[in-house]
């Protein structure tokens, strides 16, 4: 689905509700996963995307299903926004055979190539390079597909960022690099990890366009992403989009969240909730009615309830499948 925002003004109701629905879907899935984690239903790590929904949704609004996304350890939101079924994402975290990766991956290894979610990764960095490589494929095959890398502020200092963005730049590959600058890498503040916290400005070093947007404003993200995706799709090469945002839950479920940031700071960012913000603006501008919003909310409650039930009741994978698919068929 392609959303033309033009500053968020000429948004159709349908488009607006898509943005809302997707953000809500992520939020509610994450909240359900967090509860499930606390209940001991999720055996491994669980990094939620709560607070950052506007970025995945604002970007994916401009992607076709044959466009591709390469995501991180914090990838539930990207998977969902790109079209992964909520129940299969949830089942994956439960370690079930019905999960997107058949229970092999868990939170950090979601693969849904059918909808262009080419994987999330437990290692910081590689997805930036892989997104660049997908861009290479599209250029070589002369398709008009676009490749997107999502990554955190923590990845910006890593060599993979430097090498990947540079290659995309010199070969003018159809790639959009989306930095989700939530200001911390685990507990290490970005302004400790670099003396230049202006990620978009890094684009200069590679000779490509860079832009910073409010990562909690889905319309702002969408507008910036639209330009970047169109540039990529039309042969204009890569761009770097930085969304300034904040995760309002701990780095991973079960981790403490103190010491490195204050409760006040977290609360202040919770006030800037991208979902509530969109709802208010849609109502204010008459783009959607309260009934329509309520209907979306109701729809999402059902999706999540269904997903949770599905995740809980699905079977575990068969132990004898544990070593399949290491090598390809041929």
């Amino acid at each position: 689905m392609s959303v033309v925002t033009g500053g968020g003004l000429d948004l159709t109701t349908e488009q607006a509700l898509w943005l809302l629905r997707e953000m809500l879907r992520i939020r509610r899935v994450e909240e359900a996963l967090a509860r499930s984690y606390a209940q001991g239903l999720i055996p491994g790590a669980c990094h939620t995307y709560v607070g950052q929904e506007a970025i995945a949704v604002g970007v994916c609004a401009h992607l076709r299903s044959d466009d591709v996304v390469f995501s991180t350890h914090r990838g539930h939101g990207h998977a969902l926004a790109k079209g992964a079924p909520a129940r299969e994402v949830m089942a994956e975290l439960f370690g079930k055979a019905t999960g997107v990766s058949k229970g092999r991956g868990g939170s950090m290894h979601l693969f849904v190539p059918e909808v262009g979610l080419m994987g999330t990764t437990g290692i910081v960095g590689p997805n930036i390079l892989q997104a660049t490589g997908a861009g290479y494929s599209f250029q070589l095959m002369k398709t008009d597909q676009v490749s997107v890398a999502f990554f955190g502020d923590g990845a910006v200092n890593n060599g993979a960022f430097h090498e990947g963005v540079n290659m995309a730049a010199i070969w003018a590959l159809p790639v959009v690099f989306v930095c989700e600058n939530n200001q911390f890498a685990t507990e290490v503040p970005f302004d400790y990890a670099t003396r230049n916290t202006d990620v978009a400005e890094r684009a200069r070093a590679y000779g490509i366009p860079g832009v910073t947007v409010d990562g909690n404003d889905v319309l702002a993200v969408s507008e910036a992403a639209q330009a970047a995706v169109e540039r990529a799709r039309s042969g204009g090469g890569p761009s770097l989009v930085e969304g300034r945002t904040y995760r309002t839950r701990p780095h991973a479920e079960g981790m403490r969240d103190g010491g490195y940031r204050t409760v006040e700071e977290i609360d202040a960012w919770k006030q800037r909730d991208p979902i509530a913000d969109l709802e208010v603006r849609l109502l204010d501008r008459g783009i959607a009615t309260q009934e329509q919003i309520d209907a979306v909310r109701q729809e999402i409650e059902e999706v999540v309830a269904d997903g949770l039930e599905f995740a809980k009741t699905s079977p575990y994978p068969e132990p004898d499948t544990a070593a399949l698919h290491i090598y390809g068929a041929s």
């Binding site: 055996p43 491994g44 790590a45 370690g95 079930k96 990766s101 229970g103 092999r104 991956g105 868990g106 950090m108 290894h109 990764t121 437990g122 290692i123 910081v124 960095g125 923590g154 990845a155 200092n157 890593n158 060599g159 890498a185 685990t186 507990e187 290490v188 400790y192 990890a193 670099t194 010491g259 490195y260 575990y316 994978p317 068969e318 132990p319 004898d320 499948t321 544990a322 070593a323 290491i326």
Partner: protein
């Protein structure tokens, strides 16, 4: 070659967890040597993802407990240069899987600089962190990889399994001039055990295996989390009158051939139990060494029992399916005795 005898009759022993014991070693050595510093993600104020440095930041400050950006290649290369210029870095890499991004630095630089400089430069760097399968950590947080470093000249590689060894071997690492990979199996971090008093200042030398259970009928060499499981399996078999000697390899490189060969000379049978992959692994090396040096002592072919040759899956059901259980080890012991 001395194999540590841990008979529990020593005085002043304290019960510590593996992580606490290792942290005590680090603390003692940092106090002793102001040139030791630690780098890693979250090892400063936070005290380390696995509490490896808890409390040390307050004691030694930010220069000696240095939080880093997510630049594994960068900080390992950085520490290479530091080690070349008189300080003694400890790289706390969290999971060995992450440190693979620095493999070029490790293999081309760290392992070679003493040699290339004809011994005029030293390379006293400790690379420490987690290995192993467990807790649904999935494929990017479960690697073992130690045979890779044993294959290459230049490294010392240890996989301690007890709190006492964790402490004593980390202290040894922090006093030597060679690069050491100090690898901690994630399932052992909270294991408890007796540790000598601080005053003992115990250093456990590399290149020594430990006899965890004496026996006469067959030898098992086990590594990491497999040691305890093997001892348990051996206890069970003991009820049937079969006495298995269980060696904890603990020093991967150098490897204690002497203790292994002495045990095989006694028992005539050998099984290597290793969670890590089979091809070109530690079992292969041990089997080949025994082939070369004790062929005539063997009453049966040396056997290997390894984790399944596959990336590590997440789901507990699958994770279980690729690691080794006590039952599998027991079965392998029985099979060995039946040969």
């Amino acid at each position: 070659m001395v194999t540590a005898v841990q008979n529990g009759t020593e005085t002043g022993m304290r019960e510590l967890t593996y992580t606490t014991a290792a942290r005590e070693a680090l603390d003692e050595e940092m106090e002793r040597n102001p040139r030791i510093f630690v780098v890693g993600e979250g090892i400063g104020e936070r005290g380390g993802n696995f509490n490896t440095t808890l409390g040390l930041y307050e004691k030694y400050g930010p220069e000696r407990l240095r939080d880093t950006p997510i630049v594994e290649r960068g900080f390992i290369g950085m520490c290479t240069g530091a080690a070349m210029t008189g300080t003694r870095p400890v790289v706390d890499f969290m999971f060995l899987d992450f440190a693979l991004d620095a493999f070029g630095e490790m293999v081309n630089q760290i392992a070679k600089i003493q040699y290339m400089s004809s011994g005029r430069l030293e390379m006293p760097i400790v690379l420490r962190g987690c290995i192993g399968i467990g807790g649904s950590s999935a494929t990017h947080h479960s690697g073992n990889y130690y045979p890779i470093f044993a294959h290459l000249p230049g490294f010392r590689v240890v996989v301690p399994t007890t709190p006492r060894d964790a402490k004593g071997m980390l202290k040894t690492a922090l006093r030597g001039s060679d690069p050491v990979l100090f690898l901690e199996h994630k399932l052992l971090l909270n294991a408890k055990g007796e540790v000598p008093p601080v005053e003992a200042d115990e250093l456990i030398p590399f290149g020594t295996a430990a006899i965890r259970r004496p026996g006469t009928d067959a030898t098992v060499v086990a590594i990491g989390a497999m040691v305890d499981k093997s001892v348990q399996a051996a206890e069970q078999l003991s009820q049937e009158g079969v006495e298995i000697e269980v060696l904890d390899l603990r020093s991967i490189a150098p490897m204690d051939e002497e203790t292994i060969l002495a045990s095989v000379a006694k028992t005539g049978r050998l099984l290597v139990v290793d969670e890590d992959f089979q091809p070109c692994g530690m079992g292969a090396e041990i089997s080949a060494v025994v082939m070369e040096k004790a062929f005539d002592e063997l009453d049966a072919p040396v056997q290997r029992l390894n984790g399944v040759f596959t990336p590590v899956p997440y789901s507990p059901v699958l994770e279980n399916a690729v690691t080794l259980s006590r039952e599998q080890i027991l079965q392998a012991m029985r099979d060995l005795m039946a040969e």
